[in-house]
Amino acid sequence: MSEIAAILSVEGLGVRLPAGADRAYALTDVSLSVASNEILCIVGESGSGKSMMANAVMRLLPNEVRIEGGRMLFEGCDLCAAPEAEMRRLRGAEIAMIFQEPMTALNPLRTIGDQIAEVFSVHTDLSRAEITGRVLALLADVRIPDPNGAAKAYPHELSGGQRQRAMIAMALALDPKLLIADEPTTALDVTTQAQILKLIRELQGRRKAAVMFITHDFGVVAEIADRVVVMQQGRIVEQGPAAQVLDNPQHAYTRQLIAAVPPLTAPAPRRLSQEDILTISGISKTYRSGGFLGRGVRITRAVKDVSLKLPKGATLGIVGESGSGKSTLARCLVRLIDPDAGSIMLLGRDFVTMPRARLREETRHIQMVFQDPFASLNPRHKAAELVAQGPIVHGTPRATALAEAKELFALVGLDPSAADRFPHEFSGGQRQRIGLARALALKPAVLVADEPVSALDVSVQAQVLKLLADLRTRLGLSIVFITHDLRVAAQICDLVAVMKDGAIVEHGLAGEVFANPQHAYTQALLASVPGGAFARQHATEPA
């Protein structure tokens, strides 16, 4: 980095948090540099300060958070000391930013073209016609299909990937020297993510810009980075060229993070029982929305004629992108949603035709673990009460249920003495363990896990997956595991079913599906996994 002039060099930067935060400094003594024509990836888990880094460079820190010490030299100008007027000139024109969630970063009431045009009218004196021409050229540049149509569209009329392309077009409008991308692909599906990563790489190469790319995913790092900075607790623990950091990590934390990235090959297959515990046949669910007296009705066939079998003690992974119908299917299994047709046979009973009152009784045999560790626990109940709720509803005396809850706490790896705390006093991973304990409290035959690790950091993700695998053998659990992440599915599932547009396109033993995908969509999914080559190679090394 010394031979090429750095566009941005940060020296000894400190960012102070307000009193009462979990630590005094969001960033401590951070020094890094980004040169033109390179992509610097900043990697870290939640709370590592990586997003604070991006906001500090833009000088867009939340109230009460202050820069304390250090310098940020952007082309010779210290951003720490620059007056606000100077920062306004730089933002958008010289330093641009892409956000994680394009839907919230775009104004829903204005067209895409209008919003990109605004960048020009704020920073330049171009005429209206020139601006329109530039906007269309930009939209073509980011490979939006039909740029004319996209310019006239409102944000909600575009898909997530197209919105992110529009955001990138807006960021690139004034040819910024530095582009900051804060988790730009995290909210997107894998196949879309792969396209956007390719686009960023390509645009960066063409425009010779510097990119500061913030991510939590080492797969993405392997895909896109020239150099890598690893952050933990607001400090840089390691930095260097991508190949060096990925293949020969020096710091223990980096090694731990890389080890926690799930490899993309299935573990050795386990022997599966001949007996099926859960048989799903011909499940369909159609949503009708809008329309008055039969006119203009929008019909969404969320699940189309899905049939699957879950052998006793096995784990069936249902993999798909957003909108594939996998969550609707999961909710049909526990009858949170009533399917239109089909049957779900569990322990010799059909759960689809069961009346409500009977279902409340029988639902203890099939329990669910939810995705969001924050929304899935009632904030007004103590942890022990949350876990004991199910048995109490089914007639266990309160004292017995609470005592059993403490045993379950130990089972899922939580301190039983923490049972009297409220959910907000636990971390995300711990909350997910509480959710698991709640589901296990009713001793279900089948566990439906809907994206149980998607909201967690990789290292926590690995722990929770290990716990699930461990419980599976100890309790003989049969699991239906819903996920969008093929790497996670590869870790834990014996069987995998791939869903697209509400239908199963391929299913079979995990090892076979991953090693030898038959359907074109499965192949596309596997090819899109970020850092796929790295993940496969990394699997062959002893973890």
Binding site: R360, N378, R380
Partner: protein, 276 residues
Amino acid sequence: MDAIKRYFRSPAAVAGLILLLVVIAMAISASFLYPRDPLALAGRPLLWPFSNPHFPLGTDNSGRDIAAQIFHGARISLLIGGVATAIAILIGIVVGAFAGFYGGWVDNVLMRITEAFQTLPNFLLLLVLVAVFGSTLTTVTIAVGVVSWPAPARLTRAEFLSLRNREFVQAGRTLGMKDLQLILGEILPNALPPVIVYASVVMAVAILLESALAFLHLSDPNVASWGNLIGLGRDVLRVQWYVSAIPGVAILVTVLAVSLVGQGLNDALNPRLKRR
């Protein structure tokens, strides 16, 4: 508790609480300080305040002690405010909870009824109720409660609508909970804080509604209420203005106290709204 600590950090909320405690103290001490019937004749009519040490706040146009009426009136105002608010919030929560939880036709029917109540100006409805059922203290209190429930109902419904599809409610369903257990045990505790805060608004309005009724001589004439006193003072408003002004100040202070407490509760229960 954090919420209590946050409450006491706000000077306005503490001031409101002190004022409210003063009004409550007046209500409690009324029968010790003024054991006689406050509506009994006490001295010469229309004595100005501070002119006779026996009557620090003077006397009204029939020669009744104003101070005694203010102290006893605090009881009536707080009683009507408290009971009417309880009635309004209770009806509101039941209607809002069922409408929000079940949605569909239940929601449609309940919300149309709510709207029917809301489109009528609530004071007009109150006049009709009092005209039909008479103006005893009980009917006035119930009538004030009955005209005040639509707003809490809509608020509860909105909270239930946003909470009913949360994952923790779905989790409750998969555990096999009955609807009533979900409504009371899972959703209501989370929906309650804004409704409690709104109760202070209902209480302030209830006190004002009763006073307005009394001003028109439509409230219970056999109790010493602030509104009745204002109504009496109307006849001598241009010369002996203090007969109306003193109970007016009492109402102002009470309503202000209740709203300040409500605002303080709001900030204490929803700290995130205030900080950012």
